[in-house]
């Protein structure tokens, strides 16, 4: 697993939202059109690809793609 792989998964899942490429420091909630539904989709995406079910608290504290990657890495370790 590397961060680019995670970015690829998110880009595919949220192709309806994105106006440009995602970067590790992209703030998830600042993506135009982001809603609570996208938070659910993100949880399902991570569960599906990495077998990690993020908690609401973990998601709340993760501001960027890098933060999410780090939570997944920590949980997988």
């Amino acid at each position: 697993m590397d961060i680019q792989e995670l970015i690829n998964h998110i880009e595919i899942e949220f192709d309806d939202l994105q106006k440009g490429p995602l970067y590790p420091d992209t703030s998830i909630r600042e993506i135009e059109g982001w809603s609570s539904m996208h938070a659910l989709l993100l949880i399902a995406l991570i569960d599906n690809h990495y077998d990690v079910l993020l908690t609401g608290e973990e998601l709340k504290n993760a501001l960027t793609v890098q933060d999410i990657y780090e939570v997944i890495s920590k949980r997988k370790a």
């Binding site: 609570s36 539904m37 938070a39 949880i43 399902a44 998601l59």
Partner: protein, 333 residues
């Protein structure tokens, strides 16, 4: 002994809540609402109509189509989260209104989205123990009565309905072994606190919600969508595996999977996680929404109507939700 689901009939109230109406109220586009819910229309009860009224109309329709059943029914199960009275049981008032025989047992069961599976287990147990031969199992829920007008997410998902199902001793068909689960720690994530013994509705409540339908006198539903999604993703795939194990069947031997029709998002995520092929995963919610305890039997009815469920097929049904509670079995149709 063979047991089958021999009849399913349902009733939907005439009121509709469309995406067009929601788009006007919440300033969202019709496409956006459909894309986030997978639902076009929800059916909403009429004023003063409660769960047992919808269940009664479904059962009345079933018994007028199959009048020979009326004398055979010796157990009535009524599953709802909105009973008529604290006492007597609503099933006994339905029994009277439907004109059933007096040698009929009546049970109420408030089980929410796992209710259909729980009720089926109860029906099977009565029939296997030879204490009943023909069960009228009514499910009816009116989630619209406990949703505040501010709660777009819930208004966009839930719909009202009533279903009457006949489960009876037969020469074909089988209801398999059940798997159940409970985690009361999740209670707060989907709850209607008020309107109950612990928290009765008072004058303050009625005046606070005087602009809402019925002043929300049945209570207000609170849902933590994120936690409910996590619960579903965590428990349902394991439930599926356990149901297969208990019934000594392989994944490939299941002809159709019919889950509680929770929401488009949850169903898609579960289908993907459980690796269920499209043609084996049946959904029916686009024109009715999530109808709580009614969602599985309505889906079974339509799967059969569309030829996707045939006699002899093995169908896995899984219910999950409020409690948390979850339950599953396999029906040989």
């Amino acid at each position: 002994m063979s047991i089958e689901i021999s009849h399913i009939t349902y009733y939907l109230p005439p009121g509709k809540l469309t995406n067009f109406q929601l788009s006007k109220i919440y300033q969202k586009s019709i496409n956006e609402i459909f894309k986030s819910t997978g639902i076009k229309t929800r059916r909403i009860r009429s004023e003063n109509q409660i769960g047992s009224d919808l269940g009664f109309l479904a059962a009345k329709r079933l018994l007028s189509n199959f009048p020979e059943l009326k004398k055979k029914i010796d157990l009535l199960i009524f599953c709802t989260e909105g009973i008529d009275y604290k006492a007597p049981t609503t099933s006994s008032t339905l029994h009277f209104k439907l004109g059933l025989e007096q040698n009929c047992a009546c049970i109420d069961m408030p089980m929410g989205c796992a209710g259909f599976v729980y009720g089926l287990s109860l029906a099977k147990s009565f029939i296997l123990s030879e204490d009943a031969t023909c069960v009228l199992f009514i499910t009816a829920d009116i989630p619209s009565s406990v949703i505040h007008s501010d709660d777009f997410e819930m208004r966009a998902i839930f719909g009202d309905a009533g279903v009457a199902t006949i489960v009876e001793k037969s020469v074909r068909g089988k209801i398999g072994r059940f798997v159940f689960g409970t985690d009361g720690a999740g209670a707060e994530n989907l709850i209607v606190r008020e309107g109950s013994t612990r928290k009765p509705i008072d004058e303050n409540w009625l005046s606070k919600y005087s602009n809402e339908t019925d002043s929300l006198a049945h209570g207000r539903m609170h849902m933590n969508g994120l936690e409910i999604a996590r619960f579903s993703l965590q428990k349902v795939p394991t439930l599926l595996e356990n149901v297969l194990y208990r019934n000594e069947l392989s994944f490939e031997q299941i002809d159709l999977f019919v889950f509680h029709q929770a929401s488009d998002f949850i169903l898609k995520a579960l289908k993907r996680k459980c690796k269920i092929p499209d043609d084996k995963f049946y959904t029916y919610f686009e024109n009715i929404g999530n109808t709580v305890s009614c969602s599985i039997p309505i889906a079974l009815y339509h799967a059969e109507q569309e030829g996707k469920l045939k006699r002899g097929d093995k169908v896995m049904i899984l219910g999950f939700g409020v409690g948390y509670s979850w339950a599953g079995t396999i029906i040989e149709y």
